[in-house]
């Protein structure tokens, strides 16, 4: 009996330490996975660069990228207008991807510094939109909108944008929209038409 106990003890010990080890391994693997995906991202960027250098217009590569970021931002906005937390989270996560693969090599050094700052900030807000409750998503959307306005001031836009503003939200909240009509992302159906067009940002292409 005693021997049996001892045996079980030893076996249990082995089992436990094995499990602990494999846990660690899993973690490592997971991390490796992350770097892989990052690397493949970089690959994408490389490809994008090559394509753009093949094109005649020198700015094509990045414009496609800032265009993608803007498209993702609009998806977040639409989800917030619909007060759809899950959809906003999904769009936010997608936006994180575009922000991270943003190719800014065609801009001047000064613009790049500014863009890097904007992108770093926007990434954080998009990440939070990807994992937060509705109210937090809207809070982060307010700052994200500011980042997008500053980004467009540098990159320009291929479609006319409307900068809109609702004075009711948290001391006033602005956002960008592709349409002139007001659809409020801060309140959704509660106050759908609260706001006005502050500025029209004309297409630069």
């Amino acid at each position: 009996m005693k021997q049996l106990k001892l045996k079980t003890t030893v076996m249990a010990l082995a089992l436990v330490s094995l499990t602990a080890m494999s846990c660690k391994d899993n973690k490592k693997e997971h991390m490796d996975g992350d770097t892989h995906s990052e690397m493949s991202h970089d690959g994408d960027v490389e490809q994008g660069k090559m394509e753009s250098s093949n094109d005649m217009a020198s700015n094509d590569g990045q414009m496609a990228n800032s265009k993608q970021i803007m498209a993702d931002y609009m998806a977040v906005k639409s989800a917030l207008v619909e007060t759809d937390q899950a959809k906003a989270a999904q769009a936010g996560n997608k936006m994180v991807g575009s922000l991270k693969s943003f190719d800014m090599s065609g801009y001047s050094a000064e613009q790049q510094t500014e863009l890097k700052d904007i992108i770093a900030d926007a990434t954080e807000h998009a990440e939070h939109i990807g994992e937060s409750e509705m109210e937090h998503q809207r809070e982060h959307f307010k700052t994200l909108s500011k980042d997008m306005m500053d980004m467009v001031a540098i990159t320009g836009t291929d479609a006319t944008l409307y900068q809109q503003f609702c004075p009711m939200y948290d001391g006033g909240g602005a956002w960008l929209s592709m349409e002139k009509d007001i659809k409020n992302p801060y309140f959704g159906s509660k106050m759908m038409t609260c706001g006005k067009v502050e500025k029209e940002i004309k297409s630069t292409m």
Binding site: T9, A12, V16, D117, T143, D150
Partner: protein, 151 residues
Amino acid sequence: MKIFRIIAWLLLLSFVVIQFFPTAYNQSETVPKTDFIVVNNPSEHISNLLQTSCYDCHSNNTEYPWYNKIQPAAWYLEEHVKHGKSELNFNEWDELSDRRKASKLKSIISQIKNDEMPLPSYTLIHKDAIFSDEEKLAIINYMTELKQQLD
């Protein structure tokens, strides 16, 4: 009955075994030049509040509780501190651009206002880290003022 005894043994053993896994300590003697308090030089009242309620997870120096000597509590704390520092590290405040500072200040204000910070799991044991209404207001006012300077 035997099976219960084996399970109990297993649990006890795993508890013993995990004690041998080391965790990374978040401790530093020096306060860098980029530290929030060094840079902004707030009143002593505000500095104390920040250090008591925020710095354990949001700086390079944690004052560890006794149960950090015991697993799995130490793992839990390690993850906590790592995550806290990745969101905001007061020691590295001045490395942030004005835009990022404004963003962080906004989050600080909103999370303190909504009682999301300090974390309930933290104040459960660190009773001194709980902000009174008056302290909450003082911190929020101070952070709002800082933010206005940046806008």
